[in-house]
């Protein structure tokens, strides 16, 4: 295929990718900015003069609990992601490289915990949490979320750690590095892209989780996704307010992506191996 044709296809693909990714999101922003009566017109009345920030001011009203929900979600997602990455990467490294006996069986069991639909474990889990008084606490939700994301973190990172060339580790061992030093100064730094990917994964899952948040929280630890869902009731769904709050709630995640973008910008692995 001639070079210009490849370039054409890639440019075309990138445009399609951008449109398809952002299209629905743009529509939710539009919906949050216009009154419902304009949107139920045929065709929709997209006159920019109708734009109103009313939905945003309504959802930011403290009685709706969106702000405290965002704070709770931030606490829970940050801890889940941080703790999950630390203990997840340790376990992944051990299972990938540290000659653990029957590591394959352990890995399979870890993955198997993910295969139980949350719906059936919800009732027994609620029982345990309520006996241990962990319902409606940050700690309780963080521990539960950790158990959901750890298997994923471990599986993904294990795959990547296995691809780190053995020679690098042997070289480090020859230089007198202990296994723990090898892990910290050799393996982790060249695994930043997958670490980033799994970290974002853990953060977003904990940020957005809904079903267990509903069952395991009551009043104090309501998360952002609960606050968002409250706009979708039995008798009325307030599309505008719901999407306004969803837009607000996704800002921290997008900000996270912007702040940490350098971790996915270039291949760290390449650099490390060349050096």
């Amino acid at each position: 295929m001639p070079r210009y044709l490849t370039q054409f296809f890639i440019r075309f693909g990138l445009i399609a990718f951008t449109l398809l990714s952002l299209g629905p999101v743009v529509w939710s922003v539009v919906t949050s900015l216009l009154p419902l009566s304009a949107l139920t017109s045929k065709p929709p009345d997209l006159n920019p003069l109708n734009i109103t920030l009313e939905n945003y001011s309504l959802v930011l009203d403290s009685s709706r609990g969106l702000f405290s929900g965002l704070v709770n979600s931030l606490i829970i997602a940050t801890f889940t992601a941080a703790v999950g990455l630390v203990i997840g990467s340790m376990a992944a490294y051990a299972l990938a490289r540290l000659n653990m006996p029957s590591s394959n069986k352990i890995l399979m069991m870890i993955l198997a915990t993910q295969m139980f639909p949350g719906i059936v474990i919800a009732i027994p889990l609620f029982l345990v949490m309520s006996r241990t008084r962990l319902v409606d606490t940050h700690f309780g939700l963080i521990v539960v979320y950790l158990s959901f994301i750890l298997p994923i973190v471990i599986w993904i990172l294990k795959g990547f750690f296995e691809s780190v060339p053995m020679e690098l580790e042997r070289a480090a061992a020859v230089d007198g590095a202990s296994p723990i030093q090898t892990f910290r100064y050799i393996v982790l730094p060249i695994s930043l892209p997958p670490l980033f990917a799994t970290g974002v994964f853990a953060f977003i899952e904990a940020w957005n989780e809904f079903f267990f948040a509903i069952i395991l929280t009551r009043i104090n630890v309501k998360t952002a996704s609960i606050a968002i869902a409250e706009f979708s009731g039995q008798y009325q769904t307030l599309y505008g307010q719901m999407l306004a709050s969803a837009v607000l709630a996704s800002i921290p995640v997008v900000a996270l992506a912007i702040i940490f973008r350098r971790f996915i910008l270039e291949g760290f692995a390449e650099g490390a191996i060349k050096a």
Binding site: P35, L36, S37, T40, S41, K42, E54, S63, I75, F79, A82, V83, V86, A122, I123, F126, L127, S130, R131, R133, L134, V135, D136, T137, H138, F139, G140, I142, R184, Y185, P189, I214, I215, R218, I219, N220, I226, A229, E230, F231, S232, G233, Q234, Y235, Q236, T237, L238
Partner: protein, 432 residues
């Protein structure tokens, strides 16, 4: 190299920080959870507004609520999840068998959770009981006990677009099935429809099976016989469904895909459908210019009569008190406050949810704020049984799915009713 060292340092600090933070969080949470929840705190589980909610969750009678708490020395801790998640929460809470709430909002779930609730209605003041429609207790009575109090009169009635009906020279809402079909037919075309409703969800109150129960009663049928077995596999059962099927021709075809009443309401409020049945609450949003294009053009009437007259179903929004509540007295007092005449009045004026007290319903100020109140009172003169049982969800799912097939034209009304009757018989027998 330099950057590498930075990363190293910050990582170590971060680990420390995470460790300390986790420990701190755990400790503070544990202390908070262990702090005795004081016997003067009432825990109340209700839906988030704008679904029917009490003062403090709904924005009405807030001062009176503060005053009540002060006078009676109670704190009220509201847990107000979105309505669709209420039943899941209740199931988890009740399954654990531990005290969580004193007061719980219920909608058609009283029979299935009857074992967890107490009968407190005999302790309510006599004048309050006298001011409530006697029939409002029927869906809350199970095993001979009255296990709750309804706080909003919520029956399905007819809503119609006066402008559209007048456009074809019709001054009043249709009074019979034939009228309804005739008017719907004339108003269908050019992107507009005679009728719209949410037939997308099979189960529960507000699902397609419950809507059919209106028509069933209008046709003179009933869901169960005196022996508790299904009694709808007859002419009334088939005719009522056949009527819904016939009406489909003049119904927004999207109705089959709308899972919530909200989707159907939006079509009506956009002026695209002439008629629908809906809950009394709809009056307020349908007359709100921000969400509606039919402001001032909304008519309210009782549901059209079938062969046996008009009939409806009951939304049964009620407050109940749990068996494990350490403070049933205080809980009852709070419910009495919710049913206080002044609070009931603010409930309808500020939120659109009708009161249940007859004296308030007949209050001229209330009737001015909710002109449909009179219609709902009139509808209450006709049957409005929702046929709730402990198997309500399973029964309505089974019936609803068969109805959906009939409405989509993939099976006849007779087949749908026969299958549904068999399925419901099985469910009833399974409970034994």
């Amino acid at each position: 190299m330099n950057t590498n060292r930075n990363v190293r340092l910050s990582r170590r600090d971060f680990l420390k920080l995470a460790g300390v933070g986790t420990a701190g969080l755990a400790l503070s949470n544990y202390l908070a959870a262990c702090a005795p929840a004081g016997s003067n705190t009432l825990n109340v589980l209700v839906p988030a507004a704008p679904d029917p909610a009490p003062p403090g969750v709904g924005q009405f009678s807030l001062d009176a609520f503060e005053q009540w708490k002060k006078d009676n020395g109670f704190e009220v801790a509201y847990e107000a999840p979105p309505w669709p998640q209420l039943h899941d929460k209740m199931a988890a809470n009740f399954a654990a068998g531990q005290y969580v709430h004193d007061i719980i909002y219920m909608s058609g779930w009283v029979p299935e959770f009857a074992d967890y609730l107490i009968d407190f209605t005999n302790d309510l003041p006599a004048d309050l009981i006298a001011d409530l429609p006697a029939s409002s207790f029927s869906t809350l009575t199970w095993g001979g006990k009255r296990l709750g109090v309804i706080f909003t009169l919520s029956l399905l009635t007819m809503f119609y677009n006066t402008e559209m009906l007048e456009g074809i020279g019709v001054k009043e809402a249709p009074k019979t099935w034939d009228d309804l079909k005739g008017v719907a037919k004339e108003l269908t075309g050019g992107g507009k429809y005679g009728w719209v409703l949410n037939y997308g969800a099979p189960e529960g109150i507000g699902g397609v099976a419950s809507y059919w129960m209106c028509f069933l009663q209008q046709a003179g049928g009933k869901l169960y016989g005196d022996d508790g077995m299904p009694a709808f596999n007859n002419a009334a059962g088939v005719d009522s469904l056949q009527f819904m099927v016939d009406l489909m021709e003049f119904t927004d075809p999207g109705s089959l895909s709308y899972v919530g009443i909200n989707d159907a309401t939006n079509v009506f409020s956009a002026g695209q459908a002439a008629m629908m049945m809906n809950w009394p609450f709809m009056w307020k949003p349908a007359n709100d210019p921000a969400s509606s294009k039919v402001v001032g053009k909304v008519g309210s009437a009782i549901l059209p009569a079938g062969p046996a007259g008009s009939a409806s179903i009951d939304g049964t929004d009620a407050y109940t008190i749990t068996k494990l509540s350490p403070n049933p007295e205080g809980a009852r007092k709070l419910i009495e406050f919710y049913l206080d005449a002044e609070v009931q009045k603010r409930q309808v004026i500020d939120t659109g949810w009708l009161p249940i007290r007859l004296s308030v319903l007949n209050d001229p100020e209330v009737q001015a704020a909710a002109p449909n109140a009179a219609t709902v009172l009139e509808q209450a003169q006709h049957p409005y049984d929702s046929y709730v049982t402990p198997d309500y969800n399973a029964v309505t799912t089974a019936i609803g799915v068969e109805i959906q097939k009939a409405l989509a034209g993939t099976q006849s009304a007779q087949d749908a009713i026969t299958t549904a009757s068999d399925l419901v018989t099985e469910i009833v027998k399974k409970r034994g």
